[in-house]
């Protein structure tokens, strides 16, 4: 009985500590809950890193095994950190914009997370009996693989040494120093399974020379709880990096042309004789060519389909309405999540989804119509409602 009581007290004490982890509480004050239609203030977001273990690509949600062993022996005993992408949340893979489905499971990623927007607190439900591990910052503003994360921050990595027998590679940062992530010399596991890219080819471990500037992606290693990582992929030269980036960029462009660019509605002027004027802000994080194409063809009008916080649509090719562009405005230094592009469109008819704060997807006139696979489309109100809350595995 006494033992039992003690164990309860220990559990209670650990819960008190774990439910408010220090790295989260510091940020909560900084990151107020967002309202629909609001981009977060500049510099907001809590840094969380880990390995991407689970994804729901259709609804843009996933689960991360957090780096190391967070309090409560989370590595051994706790759940994944489940998250939802914010509608304007941005993803990069191999140095180019991406979708969750583009990042292989098992890839180590860096993210900046916010509290759920107001009214969406239940999107990521606490896991039953695991409430103590629940991290409130579960809406991702950005996710990046190591390749993209360090490259975008100007932090390069130089090979110090490679021990083929022990399967270790020692790297040291060069150039700018990333605020988060690893910014000091570090030794990673590497073996024959690691993909080593040179030019457009895979090469062997022996081809890695000391002093080479490399990019890499990380994965789980045996010593994960002690912040050990293995190299899953490594790029040895500029050509190999550019090739990987370009491949991903093309994939991303094709994906967005099929599904259209996400935006949200800033303002609607309803006309009681039909139609109205809708002002949209396009979300950021897309390849620049997509915005350029949209801008260049604006005289032909844009198709606009109703979407949702998951960026899913119904049957967008038929459900869209085509608006005549009245105004295209660009602002410098837009907030995180925004492209800085605001468009005013005049419609002969308005859809119910054209409401301030609601998400839409915007089609360039010249993009061909594609029907999305059934699982991506909302086909009923039940499906639509179900998508509001993450279905945990």
């Amino acid at each position: 009985m006494i033992l039992r009581l003690l164990s309860v007290l220990v559990l209670l004490a650990s819960t008190l500590i774990l439910t408010v982890p220090s790295f989260v509480s510091a940020q909560e004050k900084k990151d107020p809950s967002l309202k629909a239609g609001e981009f977060p203030p500049s510099g907001s977001g809590t840094y969380i890193a880990g390995e991407l273990v689970f994804i729901d690509p259709v609804n843009r949600r996933g689960g991360i095994r957090l780096d190391g062993n967070p309090p409560g022996d989370r590595y051994q005993s706790g759940p994944l950190h489940y998250f939802a992408m914010l509608p304007f949340g941005m993803i990069w893979y191999n140095g180019a914009p991406a979708e969750l489905r583009d990042i292989p499971l098992g890839t180590h990623i860096h993210g900046y997370f916010l509290l759920p927007p107001l009214g969406e607190e239940k999107t990521i439900p606490p896991i039953p009996n695991m409430e103590k591990y629940h991290v409130k910052h579960n809406h991702a503003l950005s996710l990046e693989d190591d390749f993209s994360f360090y490259q975008s921050r100007g932090q390069k990595w130089k090979v110090v040494s490679v021990d083929q027998i022990k399967g270790k590679i020692n790297l040291t940062p060069e150039g700018k120093s990333a605020k988060d992530g690893i910014n000091k010399p570090y030794t990673f596991d590497i073996d024959q399974v690691s993909k080593i890219w040179q030019s457009r080819k895979l090469v062997d471990l022996k081809d890695i020379s000391e002093g080479t500037m490399v990019n890499f992606n990380l994965a789980w290693a045996q010593g994960w709880r002690d912040n050990e990582f293995s190299i899953s992929e490594i790029w040895l030269d500029e050509e190999s990096r550019a090739f990987a980036t370009e491949l991903q960029r093309k994939k991303h462009v094709r994906y967005q042309k099929q599904r259209w660019l996400p935006a949200w509605v800033d303002h609607v002027e309803n006309f009681d004789y039909g139609g109205g004027i809708v002002t949209l802000t396009l979300f950021g994080g897309m390849d620049k060519s997509l915005y350029d194409e949209l801008k260049a063809t604006q005289e032909k009008g844009f198709g606009v389909a109703a979407s949702d916080k998951t960026l899913r649509t119904w049957f967008h090719r038929a459900d869209k309405k085509i608006g005549q562009v009245l105004d295209w405005k660009e602002t410098a230094n837009p907030p995180a999540g925004s492209s800085g592009i605001q468009v005013r469109l005049k419609f002969a008819e308005l859809l119910d989804g054209y409401r301030p704060g609601r998400i839409v997807r915007v089609k360039c006139h010249d993009w061909i119509f594609v029907t999305m696979p059934p699982e991506e489309r909302f086909k009923s109100m039940d499906e639509f409602k179900q998508s509001a809350i993450m279905g945990l595995p």
């Binding site: 009681d272 949702d308 049957f315 309405k321 119910d352 989804g353 301030p356 639509f384």
Partner: protein, 783 residues
């Protein structure tokens, strides 16, 4: 594009005036009257072979005053001299005695030619019934409603300056004859059916607990009118305005014709539905209820909400995001909505009054030829508005006997004779005069028809025919009794509807549909309402017997809920057409600032001040300006790199040529006065221009009339028009006479027209006084 106004009747006069003067100097006056020096000194400098200001040439104008067209031209010259317009002030001016001599000479010559001109008229005049008159005549004769406007029914009548009942315009073609035959057979089958069509009743409603939601474009409540006729429709409906106050428009939609037959604005709270009753003559076919408010939501792709059972608007607030947006961010209805509980219909309804009209027109006894002759005589006398001659009755009886000889049964044979009556020229032509003698006045029967077709658009009733039969209709006291009776009859509404539409040329409203990009608010119900306003305004002046000056300016107008929205006036308490008091800041009053009048001269994208000026000149002053010279360049839109310019600014640049300017300075100010009103008659202070650079230019509605009087806006312009009330009254009497007598007024009618106007002035130009003075005048009985 701004184009020049179309040539009109009075422009003919002015154009003729120039031509007349020309010929006159070489042939007539030159040789005989020694008036050539006057015209040479004061007219020919601008109106000869070398120069024809205002498209008017005088040096070769004939002096054959027995020719009505020549006399008309000289009459126009006389008018211009008398009014001081000619010679223009900047030109050398004749002495008073010179002027007097010229005026006397012209007046005498015109008068001298009158007898010859009248003698030249044919002994018999024929005036074919207009399409509407045919329909009214059939209804008053037989109590049968025949929709003359249905496709394939009767041909549309040509118009002359808006009037569609001018005898010389209404010719007869084989197509007319063919349609008269079809119409006669149809009408008689309905009036005298072998078996009376049963009146049907029905009710349609949604499933229990549901209501039908009719947002714009949705059709529900299908029912069928099995036979054409009078129907009574009842609808229990809630009607919610849009968040801007626009009301839903409940319409009966004919599925086959694909158009609304009748409709009205409705307002009723969602929890307090109203019962709307509509009684109307309906053509045969399927009908739906529809909400004819603008905002048609039906591209065929977007999810339709009509299949979703509707209970209340509250439950409709959460719908699929890809369906049409019906409620705004505050939960208010974006569009006017109708919510229908049920629709009931009943018809065709046979009225006792209509059945009574047919009494005695068909023999009761099979094979009784004596009764048949009595009946066909009665029928023909009513249809032909006079007693048929024996010869005519014999011919009709021969039709019956021939048909029976050919094997037809008695009833069918008799019906053939009835068809013969309705397809006779005696029915579809109003005939005046006699081939045997030249008559200067109409006889009693002809006068009865003139009265009834003027005031009722239809055949005389029994009382009027009785008066004609008694031979004393032309006696002033008898005529007055009949006129007073007729003016108080319900059928006079046909006059108060038809005359203003024709006089004001309201058929042109919507002739060029406004650009939906520029005027997205414009809809068919507004278009109807614009016409209804002017018609209702005329009707109100008639009912209240107000002065003609109300047509120029008034502190009231007639308005329905749709017009209130268009005029940005406060919403009305009830949707129907009603009299509304106006304040100066409303910028309205009289006919000239009614949106229908202002838009009938627009080209669909912008207002046309020159056309507005021509309309004012014709309608208010009774003068049609000369036509534009050929090959005039249209106004081009302002280039994108040039500052924005109003239509007025563009016109002023366009009319710098002296020949153009001479006409435009007369016409344009009459249109510029209304520059504060856009192409669909909405008030504005700046002109919204699509092309050009910079801000929209402010409106300039000021101007100077040809006589030097100035104005700053439409209100001041109307005050100047009121100073010319006598002139307007004269023009009005001329228009009214044209309508009544079914012909253009000529110089030979002018003295009588002036006399009517003068008599009416004593009564402050009250409308009924003007009408009565016309009816009692010599002119009205003149052949």
């Amino acid at each position: 594009m701004q184009s020049h106004p179309i040539t009109r009747r009075k422009s003919l006069k002015f154009a003729m005036f120039i031509n007349v003067l020309a010929g006159f100097l070489t042939t007539g006056v030159n040789a005989q009257e020694d008036m050539a020096p006057f015209f040479k000194s004061y007219c020919l400098r601008c109106h000869d072979a070398n120069k024809q200001k205002g498209e008017f040439r005088l040096d070769n104008l004939s002096t054959d005053f027995s020719d009505i067209s020549i006399a008309q031209r000289w009459s126009e010259i006389l008018f211009r001299i008398n009014s001081g317009e000619m010679p223009p002030k900047k030109e050398p001016q004749p002495k008073t005695e010179e002027l007097g001599k010229a005026v006397d000479w012209l007046s005498t010559k015109i008068k001298q030619g009158e007898a010859t001109r009248i003698a030249k008229r044919g002994p018999v005049s024929h005036y074919r019934l207009s399409r509407d008159e045919y329909g009214y005549s059939i209804y008053d004769l037989l109590g049968v409603y025949y929709d003359v406007n249905l496709p394939g029914a009767l041909n549309e009548d040509p118009r002359w300056h808006g009037f569609n009942r001018i005898g010389s315009m209404l010719s007869l073609s084989p197509s007319h004859v063919d349609r008269y035959f079809k119409a006669a057979e149809t009408v008689l089958e309905r009036g005298f059916p072998f078996k009376e069509p049963a009146s049907t009743k029905g009710r349609n409603q949604p499933n229990a607990g549901n209501r039908w939601l009719l947002f714009p474009g949705v059709h529900r409540g299908n029912f069928r009118a099995g036979a054409p006729g009078l129907y009574r429709i009842r609808v229990q409906v809630s009607a919610l305005p849009s968040f801007k106050g626009r009301l839903p428009h409940l319409s009966l939609w004919h599925q086959g014709l694909k158009k609304s037959i009748i409709g009205q604005d409705v307002i009723a709270a969602e929890d307090k539905p109203a019962i709307v009753e509509i009684e109307a003559f309906l053509p045969e076919g399927g009908f739906d209820l529809t909400n004819e408010a603008p905002g048609m939501l039906s591209d065929g792709h977007t999810l339709s909400l009509t299949d979703v059972p509707f209970v209340s608007t509250k439950e409709m607030q959460t719908v699929r995001p890809q369906s049409y947006k019906l409620f705004d961010e505050q939960g208010r209805s974006i569009f006017p909505l109708l919510i229908v509980d049920w629709v009931e219909w009943e018809g065709p309804i046979s009225l006792d009054a209509d059945r009574k009209k047919r009494e005695g027109m068909i023999p009761a006894k099979e094979g009784d030829l004596a009764e048949a002759q009595k009946c066909i005589t009665l029928f023909a006398s009513k249809a032909w508005r006079r007693p048929p001659k024996d010869q005519e009755i014999k011919r009709l009886m021969k039709v019956i006997s021939d048909e029976m000889a050919a094997g037809e049964k008695f009833r069918s044979a008799y019906m053939a004779a009835m068809v013969a009556v309705l397809t006779s020229k005696n029915f579809y032509y109003i005939e005046e005069g006699s081939p045997l003698q030249k008559l200067a006045k109409v006889n009693d029967w002809e006068l009865a028809s003139r009265l009834s077709y003027f005031l009722w658009g239809s055949i005389p009733d029994d009382l009027l025919l009785d008066a004609a039969r008694a031979g004393n209709l032309r006696q002033p006291e008898v005529l007055k009794t009949q006129v007073v009776r007729m003016l108080s009859d319900q059928k006079v509404k046909r006059f108060t509807e038809a005359f203003p539409q024709q006089w004001l040329q309201l058929h042109k409203v919507g002739m060029f549909p406004p650009d939906s990009e520029l005027y997205p608010d414009y809809d068919k119900w507004l278009e109807k309402s614009l016409i209804m306003e002017s018609v209702a305004f005329f009707n109100e002046v008639f009912d209240k017997n107000l002065s003609l000056r109300e047509f120029i300016h008034s502190d009231w107008t007639m308005m329905n809920s749709r017009l209130a929205l268009h005029y940005q006036m406060p919403p009305l308490k009830s949707p129907e057409m009603q009299r509304i008091a106006l304040k100066p800041e409303d910028h309205r009053g009289g006919l000239l600032t009614q949106a229908g009048i202002l838009m009938l001269t627009s080209d669909g994208s912008r207002h046309r001040p020159v056309h507005r000026g021509v309309w004012v000149s014709e309608t208010i002053f009774g003068k049609t300006p000369p036509p534009p010279p050929p090959n005039v360049e249209p106004l081009e839109p302002t280039p994108l790199n040039k500052p924005k310019a109003t239509v007025r600014m563009q016109l002023q640049a366009h009319t710098t040529h002296s020949l153009c300017a001479s006409c435009h300075q007369r016409i344009d100010p009459l249109g510029f006065a209304f520059d504060n009103f856009d192409a669909i008659g909405r008030w504005r202070t700046e002109e919204n221009m699509k092309s050009g650079q910079g801000a929209n230019p402010p409106v300039n509605a000021s101007g100077t009339l040809i006589d030097g009087r100035t104005f700053n806006d439409s209100l001041e312009f109307k005050q100047l028009l009121l100073q010319d009330l006598d002139r307007f009254a004269l023009a009005f009497v001329e228009q009214l006479s044209t309508f009544a007598l079914r012909r253009a007024m000529t110089v030979d009618d002018m003295d009588q027209i002036k006399s009517i106007a003068l008599s009416s002035k004593k009564d402050d130009y009250k409308l009924k006084a003007v009408i009565e003075n016309l009816l009692y005048s010599e002119l009205f009985q003149k052949r």
